[in-house]
């Protein structure tokens, strides 16, 4: 067995505390945090020293930025545009409501875990209000902003090719969603307007860092939640008994990046899906089912059966739904709750017509 499989199970008593998750988004207050002065009181506000460089450095690492500030949206946004920083902030929450509500909006819009947000504010009251409503959010005193790059949950973030494009991809997502919300009719009809291409390929050396990152960052559409290190992934990539496939999704707005990964062990009588995951940004695109169908056809063509490991976590219900709605049935369940699924391959659903599938492996 590999070391990853020995990690503590969800729900079981962990041998050691779970590693804190990497920070995915920094949420900034404005007055006396991002800048000195209070905008609404007519101050000529000035950015805190080094804050522009800091924001750009975090952005380059693939860490997103947002805002949660009590201000008038138009005024604050104009000021951010003048500073040349507006484009860095996704789903800014600039209003007079509770900051805990703003944080909840950001979390929902970005579709990332509450425990991957870091909130930075100069006022203890605001930090306490957010912490009370969302205990898993990290709260930081604005005075400590200079140490953000050294924060243990930021320093450890791995930088991949996709990381450098992450903000751009979220901006493309915002465009897509605007188009989607203004579209009338069935979601499938909207999907058909996107000209989606789904590319399935054997992972290459250059993909391994991203593949590792996907196993760490992906929680909802993840069949086991088991994380794999680069070394392990490299050995699977070279193993004749395994397939390590990585998937990219593109549409007319741009590329979603490398958003899917699967590890298949080729056993004598059957293929065994050890891991299958998809970035949550693709959740409404149905590509998890597309990848599963691809693996089904491949096993069927080889005259094999198809099995899959599944470990239920608190957050991967949608992946369970994907497997079970694709026709996988539970054949065994360990005392720890680890499930083995099997598909009888008697009926494999056609791929949706709104997506073009390319396979290279």
């Amino acid at each position: 067995m590999n070391t990853a499989a020995d990690m503590p199970l969800d729900g079981a008593t962990p041998a050691k505390p779970a590693k804190p998750k990497a920070i995915k988004c920094v949420v900034w207050d404005l007055d006396h945090t991002l800048w000195d002065g209070i905008l609404a009181e007519g101050d000529a506000v000035a950015l805190k020293p080094g804050v522009v460089e800091l924001i750009k450095a975090l952005d380059a690492r693939g860490i997103l930025h947002s805002i949660c500030s009590r201000n008038t949206h138009e005024d604050a946004w104009r000021q951010l545009e003048q500073f040349g920083l507006a484009e860095y902030f996704l789903y800014p929450q600039i209003n007079w409501g509770a900051k805990s509500a703003g944080i909840a909006n950001i979390q929902r819009e970005l579709n990332i875990g509450m425990d991957t947000l870091l909130f930075i504010d100069d006022q203890p009251f605001e930090r306490d209000e957010v912490a009370a409503a969302h205990p898993s959010v990290s709260c930081l005193d604005a005075q400590e902003y200079g140490q953000l790059l050294e924060h243990p949950r930021i320093r450890s973030v791995v930088i991949t090719e996709d990381a450098g494009r992450r903000r751009q991809m979220y901006l493309e997502d915002m465009e897509r969603r605007q188009a989607e919300s203004s579209h009338e009719g069935m979601p499938e009809a909207f999907l058909a307007t996107l000209n989606m291409q789904f590319h399935i390929a054997a992972a290459q050396e250059a993909d391994l860092l991203r593949a590792e990152e996907l196993t760490v960052r992906t929680n909802q559409l993840n069949s086991t939640g088991i994380t794999y290190g680069m070394e392990e992934l490299r050995s699977f990539m070279h193993s004749p008994d395994h397939s390590l496939l990585i998937c990219e999704l593109t549409d007319r707005y741009g590329s979603y990046g490398k958003i899917g990964l699967t590890l298949v062990a080729h056993e004598p009588g059957h293929d065994h899906i050890k891991l299958l995951l998809m970035s949550c940004r693709t959740a409404s695109r149905g590509v998890g089912s597309v990848l599963l169908s691809h693996l089904m056809r491949r096993a069927a063509a080889a005259g094999k059966r198809l099995r899959a490991d599944f470990r239920r976590t608190e957050r991967n219900r949608q992946m369970l739904v994907t497997y079970q709605f694709s026709g996988f049935r539970e054949v065994s369940k360990s005392e720890q709750g680890d499930i083995v699924f099997e598909h009888d391959l008697s009926f494999i659903q056609d791929d949706p017509s709104y997506i073009e599938i390319r396979v290279e492996h």
Partner: protein, 87 residues
């Protein structure tokens, strides 16, 4: 069968009909298998699950999230009835 239950079933029927990839002329029967007949996709199955949970307030247990429970109006009615009588 009480009125609330009938109303739920009617909402599900309307949701399915509004999402079928067929002419308006096709009449949906209560025991039609909507997946086998190609009326809807597996992606729709997920939306159907979300829809049913949102209108009925039930949370479908893992073991019940299988296509046969969502494959026809009859099957979905039976599923909801099961949770309602268990409550």
């Amino acid at each position: 069968m009480d009125n609330q239950f009938n109303a739920l079933c009617q909402q599900i029927r309307e949701f399915v009909e509004a999402n079928m990839n067929v002419d308006d002329e096709v009449a949906l029967k209560d025991d039609d298998n909507i997946f086998r007949l190609g009326y809807v996709s597996s992606l729709f199955a997920m939306r159907l699950l979300n829809f049913i949970e949102s209108i009925s307030g039930i949370t479908v247990a893992d073991e019940d999230i299988v296509l046969p429970n969502f494959s026809s109006i009859d099957a979905m009615s039976a599923l909801i009835q099961k949770y309602r009588s268990a409550a």
